[in-house]
Symmetry: C2
Subunit: 167 residues, 2 copies
DNA sequence: TTGGCCTATGTTACTCTATAACCTTTCGTA
DNA sequence: TACGAAAGGTTATAGAGTAACATAGGCCAA
């Protein structure tokens, strides 16, 4: 049985963006932390699509949007904040960052990453997290953070003959 | 029920090294690929312990062992070869490389990484790989490579009060 | 409302990781 | 032994991330 993840389907992405930004505002308000202009702008840029973005790409996007250039530490500090608040995830495989659709629920970082179109699909599988914790416990290991990064082809790209034959 | 992974236990590590190098020799012989001096030396250095090593650390170790300095491309080419042959894995979380104890069996990259002592324990859980493939298939995703990197505390460090209190 | 503190951002310089491009050497084979 | 492919050497540079210190802005207490 298959379902199409939202990242992979045609959808009104403006809705994704506004939902994410509103969730971020509420979450920061509730926690008493400051979602500054810069942090909000970085989060908004990350949400431009469902593809993870590198810090230096973000810097260029900021420069283009703001006329003023920001230096690496500035963007990394904003990213650190967003990571701490769980508003974004880091994709180690790509040295890149992607928005989290459910920042208010504590969860692990599990992604499907399409190497054809570049999108990253976040999995929501608490059962899988539990399975991983179980396997680790058998080895006497105390789990703190999980990072699952599966690369391959998303539903769209896998069914696109132009993609499948060009690999 | 717990078992102590070998990387975590007291063990004769020379045995790990000689096994790994012998396995590599056999595997390359069988595949008709060349395990050159440099490649063998890099593999041996990686196997010095169960902690992932960065490319630049390896470069320094090579320089110390050989009197002659090697440049980054040289060590990266050796690493690429070893990765292609499945003799080592890359740990994205650490930008580092670690020896694979079972290069002759095709498998996914699943690791437990202790942030206290630095060791990486490779999991051997085909069932977990299958579970991940299943979850991905539900989203219509065609899996090519899995990378699971779990960070936390290994059995030794978790039971060491000096470690637990210093975090 | 001012002063002081804390947090956020700016700036400069640097480290670490990785690769491009081109040249030389080495190895296996014809 | 000579040739071609593969491996390694060299130089330069791209890409990712951080240290250290300076400045600005928001918030609270007196």
């Amino acid at each position: 049985m298959e379902y199409a993840p939202i990242a992979c389907s045609h959808h009104d992405h403006n809705h994704c963006i506004s939902d994410a930004l509103e969730a971020a505002r509420q979450l920061c308000l509730g926690r008493g932390v400051r979602l500054t202009d810069l942090r909000l702008q970085v989060l908004e840029l990350i949400w431009q699509n469902h593809k993870p973005l590198g810090a230096y790409t973000l810097m260029e996007m900021l420069a283009r949007a703001n006329t003023r250039r920001v230096a690496p530490p500035t963007v990394y500090r904003a990213l650190d904040f967003l990571l701490e608040q769980g508003l974004i995830h880091r994709i180690n495989l790509l040295n890149a960052f992607i928005g989290c659709p459910s920042p208010n629920i504590k969860h692990q970082s599990h992604f499907l990453i399409c190497h054809a179109c570049g999108i990253a699909i976040e999995l929501d599988q608490p059962e899988l997290s539990q399975k991983i914790i179980g396997v680790a416990q058998e080895a006497g290991f105390r789990v703190e953070k999980q990072s699952l990064e599966v690369s391959g082809l998303c539903a769209n790209c896998a069914s696109d003959p132009a993609v499948s034959t060009s690999i």
